[in-house]
């Protein structure tokens, strides 16, 4: 690195050798006693960086811990029953015979029922807010639907016990029995409490999540898609159907699946109104039991190790199902809302 290689300009100003001369000027400078003294240590930076990485790692280890706890503590039941645990329908803590089928059935049926009720309503609300609603109402409406999400599960349950259940018992169930009783889904004594009540309260609870994610998906549909359809002389509904809903299909399905994930794991409100009886009945009027509610009711009373282990195995199954459902939903929502990978910014 010889100095010849450096193209130095010829100039008239007093030439100063950049090497030793600059050292000299530094000494004469008023800044020779700098306000900031001392060498900067690299250690705090490294320490901080690794602490933050540790926090990130902690999040991952939390999940590992959850998986480990669930698997390790359900071994007893797994070894005793194997796969048949999920196919047997007897649940007898006294004789230590455990089968999870009634709970799986209850979880699946109550969740599907809630989707049947919630999806049209939630999508309708989302469409109304994004496409039809006057701007002044928009903020208020979305705030109100978000408020639904902020109400704790136990309060939904409380309301369901004292308001929804009597309502179902005196008005809805007799009506359904009379008009749709022939299907076999709406037969038997109208207790009020049962699968139907669980489905309805779940629906009310998952509407906000489905609706807010659908809204998010609808708003990212590019404006020109709407304008394109409108330019063809379409009415507003045709514009929504062809220009908006069609483009947002995958995202809406994702939102619905996300709602399903929420419904599968929902515990308190369901426990309070489903009747808590481990039976498989065709009628939606009959009481049932879900995986989450059997945990809520029986976990702290489980006296034997086998009983506890069987309950934890139900927890493990519930965990696996919900994470698969959620992962699927996330992927579908991302496919719509993320046109471009975030990397492109850098």
């Amino acid at each position: 690195m010889s100095h010849q290689a450096v193209p130095r300009p010829r100039f008239d100003a007093p030439e100063s050798d950049p090497g030793p001369a600059s050292k000299a000027t530094l000494k004469m400078d008023s800044r020779a006693i700098p306000l900031l003294q001392g060498k900067v240590s690299e250690i705090p930076d490294a320490l901080f960086g690794w602490t933050m990485r540790l926090c990130g790692l902690a999040v991952v280890s939390l999940l590992v811990l959850i998986v480990y706890e669930l698997i390790a503590r359900s071994q007893l039941s797994w070894h005793a029953f194997g796969w048949s645990f999920f196919a047997r329908s007897d649940w007898n803590p006294v004789e230590e015979q455990f089968g999870a089928l009634p709970f799986i059935y209850g979880t699946v049926v109550s969740s599907i029922l809630s989707l049947v009720i919630a999806v049209p309503l939630a999508v309708g609300v989302a469409v109304f807010i994004t496409e039809m609603c006057p701007v002044t109402l928009r903020g208020m409406l979305s705030f109100t639907t978000e408020l639904l999400a902020a109400i704790p599960s136990v309060i939904y349950g409380l309301w369901a016990i004292f308001i929804l259940v009597p309502l179902l018992r005196t008005y809805v169930q007799p009506f359904l029995a009379k008009t749709l009783g022939w299907t076999g889904l709406f037969t038997g004594p109208p207790y009020g409490i049962g699968m139907l009540a669980a489905g309805v309260i779940l629906a009310i609870m998952i509407i906000p999540i489905i609706s807010s994610i659908t809204r998010e998906v609808l708003t990212v549909v590019p404006q020109h898609q709407r304008e394109g359809v409108l330019a063809l002389g379409a009415t507003r509904w045709e514009m929504i159907r062809m220009g908006v809903l069609r483009n947002a299909r995958a995202g809406i399905v994702g939102a619905v699946i996300l709602g399903l994930g929420r419904a599968l794991g929902e515990t308190m409100a369901v426990t309070m109104v489903i009747g808590n009886r481990p039976e498989i009945a065709k009628s939606l009027f009959a009481p049932g039991y879900t995986m989450a509610s059997v945990l809520a009711n029986e976990f702290s009373e489980a006296t034997s190790n086998m009983y506890l282990s069987a309950l934890i195995e139900i927890g493990l199954a519930l965990f696996l199902v919900t994470i698969i459902v959620n992962a699927l939903a996330r992927l579908m929502v991302w496919s719509v809302t993320r046109g471009l990978p975030a990397r492109n910014i850098a």
Binding site: L54, V59, L65, L70, M132, F143, G157, M268
Partner: protein, 286 residues
């Protein structure tokens, strides 16, 4: 020819109006239960909240009066423990994601947070039971706090990340250019600029776990009396509401409504504060 065109457009217009009507109907159907829940909460709860409710412990079955003072305090203790553990960890993870995790490892953490967010709360309860209750040998406020902390972390981490990413890179560079070390820049410049957003995330997480019941059933367990030790069964507002709601006594039903109203007032206050912070915070102008 002209006639058919006219007819189609007439039909199409009817359908258009019909679908608008359907959409309005769905809004009404969704708002109805919300209105009903709040109406009943206020109608049934307001009449039952009194001084005794806020200051006394539960009375035995059959005796009128009593309150949920111990449950209100218990909830606060459990939430304090949860926040003490969950908030720093969540913010730390958020800082990692935005400042150090723009790579494959970060993507893993990001995905895991989203997965954790979807884990049913009752399952988190089982894990906290295994981690704390079984090891300690008894139910405790600590176990309840751990369960709620686990639930807070992913929400806080992801919102913190998003808020920090909103801070322009130029602000970080300005700090680096002044010779401010990276850790100091992150804490005193980046995090400080995003403060209101990060607080929003923390409060959202807080509001979400404040009303949780399922993860407390077999961790905090509940208690009819005062308890000042963090290693003993502890009462919580949500647990008390649950056990009173499914009880057969009118007096307890009445108190369940009162408890629910107190709980919802606390949570709505938090959500309103969040809205306020977002609207009037520094990020609103950015």
């Amino acid at each position: 020819m002209a006639k058919t065109v006219l007819q189609i457009s007439w039909r199409r217009r009817i359908i258009d109006h019909f679908m608008t009507g359907v959409a309005v109907l769905t809004v009404v159907l969704v708002l109805l239960p919300l209105g009903a829940i709040f109406a009943y909460l206020i109608y049934k709860g307001a009449g039952s909240i009194n001084w005794a409710f806020l200051t006394q412990t539960p009375k035995p079955v059959g005796e009128p009066g009593g309150g949920m003072a111990n449950a209100i305090v218990g909830s606060m203790v459990i939430l304090a423990i949860a926040s003490l553990m969950g908030v720093p960890l969540g913010i730390g993870a958020g800082i990692y994601l935005s400042e150090y995790g723009r790579n494959r490892y970060g993507d893993v953490v990001r995905f895991v947070s989203d997965v954790l967010n979807g884990v049913p709360s009752i399952v988190i309860g089982i894990v906290a039971y295994g981690l704390v209750v079984l090891r300690q040998g008894h139910f405790s406020a600590l176990a309840g706090g751990v369960a709620l902390a686990i639930m807070m972390v992913p929400t806080i981490a992801r919102t913190t990340e998003q808020m920090l990413l909103l801070v322009p890179q130029a602000i970080r560079e300005a700090a680096y250019g002044l010779g401010i070390p990276r850790w100091r820049t992150t804490l005193s410049i980046t995090l400080r600029t995003a403060t209101s957003g990060v607080i929003t995330g923390v409060m959202l997480a807080f509001a979400r776990v404040a009303g949780e019941t399922a993860p407390l059933l077999f961790t905090a367990f509940g208690n009819q009396y005062w308890n000042w030790k963090s290693d003993q069964p502890t009462a919580a507002l949500s647990l008390q509401i649950f056990s009173y709601a499914i009880s057969p006594f009118d007096e307890w039903h009445r108190q369940a409504w009162a408890g629910a109203l107190v709980l919802i007032i606390l949570i709505v206050a938090a959500v309103a504060a969040v809205r306020f912070a977002v609207k009037h915070g520094t990020l609103a102008g950015a």
